[in-house]
């Protein structure tokens, strides 16, 4: 089928769908009962279809070939939520994503999820983002392996074989409180309150349909150089994170975007998200010499250049030896070990800081590692290569983990995850 054929096909499907909605939406909504979309959207004052408003400042588009928040230039804040589903049928789950679609568009337009008309009920939108622009909000939706194991949803035959909980890695100390989830919402914005507001309102609108399993807020500082160009953000160990990310369209297709035939058809143009809540032992790191810190990464701290090179984006040369025949890049460094496998990923990490750990008094701070790849195995391969050897292990502990299949982008008139529900 050619691209233009596809468009026509989509349009037809869309118009039929909309016609159905116009003639029978009310009745259908009631038939589905408490979770009916018609009723829910009506109650929230949200129209059932919204467009990207391109006149809005600092706006990321919702519709497109891929979901926002993956290839989108990384924002300064994230609010990541892992959710459990409470709905008991595929139809109800589908209604949930249909309900979320116009809400997400509205939020990414910098608008509330709906208007309040009756002062006897609580406001439709919680309101804390009123008066600020879209702040480059992106919202990314994904589904976890446990969703497909939920028998009442009847989705087990649609589970991509790649979508599994990550295996146990050396030195993992995963806590149930930060692990897994049926669904995820990754809200990123250049404002912490805008990111939080997005998740808060989507979850609230879905009351009784989902519950929060765990959440984590994160932040980034993005330096801008003299030429006004954005530079790679640094993590809390002060090293640049994301230097080796794929950037070209080809690289993105090779590394990040699921291509036709590479996974279940509903994942084509989607991507797999891996999230790890990694505590960084800041206290021990801060008493580590600069030399040892740089040996840990295999890069220079001041500019991020790999060992033996001058600039951040210079190619890593792991085979290079000094005059004594020793590798320039320490064999226990993060960069050296990560390059022992072919796999590449796209890192989109944030730092976090969540108070102190009760029983030790240490900072509960670290890296909310998020990466996108077309197959979670890419992450697993790299993580296995790091294994027990990684010098970084002395300074970090992985405490949370999740893997989510992020749907392909949403076409105008369609809804989040439609390909899954129509599969």
């Amino acid at each position: 089928m050619t691209e233009s054929n596809k468009e026509t096909f989509m349009d037809k499907k869309l118009s039929r769908r909309r016609m159905l909605k116009m003639t029978g939406a009310g009745a259908a909504g009631v038939a589905i009962g408490a979770s009916g979309l018609g009723g829910v959207l009506k109650a929230f004052g949200v129209p059932d279809f919204l467009e990207d408003d391109t006149s809005v400042e600092n706006k990321v588009n919702f519709y497109g070939k891929h979901q926002s928040g993956i290839a989108t230039e990384v924002q300064t804040h994230v609010y990541f939520a892992s959710l459990s589903v409470l709905v008991k049928s595929k139809a109800e789950l589908q209604e949930l994503f249909k309900m979320w679609t116009p809400m997400a568009v509205s939020l990414m337009n910098g608008k509330p999820i709906g208007e309040t008309k009756n002062s006897y009920v609580p406001p439709v939108d919680t309101g804390e983002a009123i008066g600020v622009d879209a702040k480059n909000l992106s919202i990314t939706f994904g589904v976890g392996p446990s969703l497909f194991k939920n028998k009442s949803l009847g989705l087990s035959h649609l589970k991509p074989k790649e979508l599994n909980d990550l295996p146990h890695f050396p030195k993992d100390q995963l806590e149930e409180a930060y692990t897994g989830g049926d669904l995820c919402i990754q809200a990123c914005a250049d404002d912490p309150q805008v990111a939080f507001h997005a998740v808060r309102n989507l979850v609230r609108a879905a009351s009784g349909k989902v519950s929060i399993k765990w959440t984590q807020a994160g932040f980034n500082s993005i330096p801008v150089n003299k030429e006004g160009k954005r530079e790679t953000p640094r993590n809390l160990f002060a090293f640049k994170d994301g230097t080796e990310n794929p950037r070209s369209e080809k690289a993105m297709n090779d590394v990040v975007w699921v291509q036709k035939g590479e996974s279940k058809p509903w994942m084509t143009n989607g991507s797999y998200l891996v999230v790890r809540r990694i505590q960084m032992h800041l206290e021990t790191w801060d008493r580590t010499s600069l030399q040892a810190q740089e040996d840990t990464f295999g890069r220079y701290r001041h500019n991020g250049a790999p060992y033996g090179k001058e600039n951040e984006f210079d190619a890593v040369d792991e085979d290079r030896k000094d005059e004594n025949g020793n590798y320039v890049l320490p064999e226990t460094s993060h960069v050296f070990l990560a390059r022992q496998v072919k796999a590449r990923i796209m890192r989109r990490a944030f730092s976090y800081s969540s108070g102190v750990i009760d029983h030790t008094g240490a900072y509960d701070a670290g890296l909310l590692f998020i990466s996108f790849q077309k197959n979670p195995q890419q992450f697993t391969d790299i993580q296995n290569a790091l294994g027990r050897l990684d010098k970084m292990n002395e300074y970090i502990t992985h405490r949370g983990s999740g893997v989510f299949a992020c749907f392909p982008g949403i076409k105008k008139g369609s809804y989040i995850g439609e390909a899954l529900f129509n599969a």
């Binding site: 009962g33 408490a34 009916g36 009756n118 006897y120 009351s207």
Partner: protein, 288 residues
């Protein structure tokens, strides 16, 4: 009453909208609209507010009686009996809290926790009411020296019952009251901070839910008219909470000590409360 006339307009409006886009029925719906318009005076919440006031008065009658028995046992020095009566006597109060707490002086006199007083710069000496006697029974382990507190509790309870006669129950009070009851559960019962000495929080929990459910029951026909899905959802979510609570019932119809609950238990309960609270807060749609 403002709420009444608004409701009337909306009910009429709803019928008109229902007839829209169906030309065959235009005539019929017009007639229907007229009929509804003439009927507006009957569409009010007077019956509902009256029913709720009757419920509250009945609860407070029983509260007075139960408090009398509790105070008698307490003053007789019958600790076991007093401990047995404490959680169940309070339930009548907790069920009717939206009304009971409308008297700013009596509510703290009867139900203040030590933590509340301390937050206001008062001390244990200023403390009266049920929770002080709870402290006497479970923490101090004696009734002697608390007789005056017991007498005052009974006097305050009787005064509350008398004053409630004068309360004008409004639809607003009912709807906000139902949500407030749940908020009570969310903020103090679920954390075990209501009955920190006796750990009988789940009795209060159950009573708050019953109080909210009563309001829903009274308003249910009106909610059904306006938004059938909301009524169905509320029935479902009340059932969720009640089913969860049933896991903690004891053979004698009471509840296990709060200390028996794990973090997982309280989280499940808190989630169920929040899932009920969201649709409950939409009941105001009938006042639209």
């Amino acid at each position: 009453m403002k709420a009444k006339s608004l409701l009337a307009i909306l009910v009429a409006g709803g019928v008109v909208m229902g007839g829209c886009g169906n030309s065959d029925d235009t005539k019929k719906s017009d007639t229907k609209t007229e009929q509804t318009a003439t009927d507006t005076k009957e569409v009010s919440l007077d019956a509902e507010t009256k029913a709720y006031k009757e419920f509250a008065l009945d609860q407070l009658d029983q509260f007075t009686k139960a408090t009398e028995e509790f105070v008698t046992a307490f003053k007789d020095g019958d600790m076991d009996k007093a401990k047995e009566l404490y959680p169940t006597a309070r339930m009548f109060f907790e069920r009717s809290e939206p009304i009971a707490e409308s008297f700013g002086d009596l509510d703290p006199a009867i139900d203040a926790r030590l933590a509340d007083l301390e937050a206001e710069g008062q001390t244990k000496d200023d403390w009266t009411g049920y929770h002080k006697l709870e402290y006497a029974l479970w923490e101090d382990g004696k009734t002697k020296g608390y007789e005056e507190v017991a007498d005052k509790l009974l006097a305050d309870t009787k005064e509350l019952r008398a004053r409630v006669e004068t309360v004008e129950v409004t639809p607003d009070m009912m709807i906000n009251g139902a949500v407030d009851l749940l908020n009570e559960v969310s903020t103090s019962k679920i954390s075990g901070e209501e009955d920190i000495f006796s750990h009988t929080d789940l009795y209060d929990f159950k009573a708050n839910i019953e109080g909210a459910e009563k309001i829903f029951e009274i308003l249910e026909p009106k909610i059904k008219e306006k938004d059938a899905a909301l009524a169905e959802n509320l029935t479902d979510k009340f059932k969720n909470v009640n089913d969860l609570l049933a896991n903690y019932e004891t053979k004698d119809g009471g509840y296990v000590s709060y200390t028996k609950l794990t973090d997982k238990d309280t989280k499940a309960l808190a989630n169920a409360i929040n899932q009920l609270g969201e649709p409950l807060s939409q009941m105001g749609t009938i006042l639209e």
